[in-house]
Structure formats: structure tokens, C-alpha cells
Amino acid sequence: MSKPLRIFLVLLGVAVVAGGVGVLTAYISRINAPSQTGETLYIDAKHPHGVAMPAFKLQTANGGVFDNADLRKRWTFMFFGYTHCPDVCPLTLGRLAVVMGDLKKAHRAGDLQVLFTSVDPQRDTPAKVAAYAAYFDPRFVGATASPAEIKRLTGELGIYFKREPDPFDAKNYLIQHSASILIVAPNGHLVARLEPPHYPKLIESELKEIRRLYEK
């Protein structure tokens, strides 16, 4: 056998094995992925426009304010968390950034915004939350409010959170919190709540369906 042919066969062998490993990995991750997520719709015959959002006022970077008026004329994904959260919060915001990117490609992101609200105002200043949110997508808004206002707003929205000690580090604390994504329609009304785990394609198809119901 000629030398170039032998080299070609060897390279082909490497490519086939690498490809096989890739396909197998993709297959395994697909069969392990849950097939669907939970959602609650707030649009029905009784509430064709969703349910009114409670009045609220949050602080964003540079002394800015985010309140009910900022929910108008666009679709809003609301997610609650804290910046000391190393796993679930960056995972969710990263996936919302994917949704934003996908919809941008389809020219449907112009009327979409993401609001990340910190339930940890003791450690998260408005500037800190804003910088954190903007890291995932420059259009993401990060905000927080006084502990009392956060407690009232999350309570009214059914967003749960609770502080817990870190058993390894007395100076640190953890926060368990609802990982739901709330969807607010351009009329400023709450229309859906998506439960984790969140996957970009599922969020996109749910948003499409909710838009259809809303625009009907």
C-alpha cells in the first residue's frame, strides 16, 4: 500500500472514531434530557388579556427605576435570583440569552426584554445586579429593591425565596428561590409562568404559543 494512502486511511480512522464518539455523546445527552417543562397560563376565557401585575418599583443601575410602565409595549421574561448563585442563575440567564439570540436572528427580539431581579438586596446593589445581568446580554436589565419591597413583590407573584446558612462557611449564606420564568405581555399583564428546567427551544415554542393566544 502506498504511503499517502496509508496516511489517508489512518486519518480516516481517527475521523470515524471521533465522529462516532460525538454522535454517541449527542445521543446520550438527548435521551437524558427531559422532554417537557411545566407551565401555567394566565390567559383564559375569563382573563383574555392575562392578569394584572401588582404595582412595583425596582432600582436599576445609575439611579434608574424599573416599574410597571417599563413592561409596556414589549414582552418581558422575569427571573428572580441572586448574584452569589453560581449555578442555576447563570444557567438560566445564559439560556435566556440564547433565546434572545435566536429571536434576534428571526427578527423577533426587538420587542423582548429580560428582567433579572435580585432577592438578595443585602449583598446585591442595583449596580451590581445590572452589571451581572448585562454580562449575559447587554439588553438584560438587572434590578433590585429594598428587602421589604422584594418580599412584598415576590409574595404577590408567588415567587418563593428563603435564606439558608452555608454549613461550610459561617460568613456566607445560600438562598433557595423559585426558578420560574414569568412572562409579561405588552399590556403589562402576567400571561404565563414557566417552571424549570428551562431549555431555549422550549421557551421559544412556549412564547410563540402564548403570543398566538394573546394576539387572538
Binding site: 496509508r6 442555576v88 447563570p90 454580562y135 423559585s178
Partner: protein, 147 residues
Amino acid sequence: MVFKPVRRFFLISLFALLPVSAFAAGGLSADGAWIRQAPPGMKMLAGYLTVSNHGAKPRSVVAASSPAFGHIELHRSVIQNGVAKMIPQMSITIPAHGELHFAPGGYHLMLMKPKRAFKLGEMVPLTLRFANGQTITVQAVVKRGEM
């Protein structure tokens, strides 16, 4: 003569798979280690990897450390009734011939008190300690995060 290229095919294929396993000792290996880059100024990062136990006995990870972090904890994110919780783990057992996946939304290394900022693509050493005192060290690449 006919078999030679075939044999070489298998040999080369085997070598192609080798880099997948970054470290192997005492029946344990770890691979695919990465650290999610933290947004600016954040003091809490997460690290992920897969640990394989090639032995016939279960093994337990009990701690992690790195010269780049002041403190590392073993955690597991769980979602119960829509609520995300981080549950600190004193020890995580890897069954015989089993794998432990540290992955987003599940087991993770909570990397606290970073001693500096990390650049994308940078390699950072992470050391896992097992119940018998054995340690393994891997190089974790800093990434923006699986999305």
C-alpha cells in the same frame, strides 16, 4: 501486510481517545473540567467535570481545592416544586465502575473567593480529594458557559 493498516487504524484510534481522559490514577480519572466565567466582580463561580471510577469499589469525593480559590465547596443544585436549592454535600459517592457528572443544574464545585480574575480559555488547576486521602488534579478551562 494486509492486516498492518488495520492494526494501525485501531492503534491510532486508541490514541485519538486518549486525550479525553485527562488524568488517571488509583482507578480514578477526571475529564472535561471547566469553570464558568463569572460576570464582572462576582466572587462565586462554579466548576464542572466528570469523574470516573474504574475500580471495583465505590469511591467518595470529600473535598476540593485550588491555589486559585480561597475556598471550594461541593454542592448539588436541585429543583423541588420549581424552587432551586443548593444543597452542600459532605461527600459524593461514585459507584464501582461508575461516573460522577458535575454539570450545570446538578452537582457542581462552588468556587469561592477567587484570588484573581480569569481570562477565557485560561487553565486553572482543581484538586479533588477522596475519602482515602487520594487526590487528583485536573486543569479546568475557563469558558463563558454552556448555554
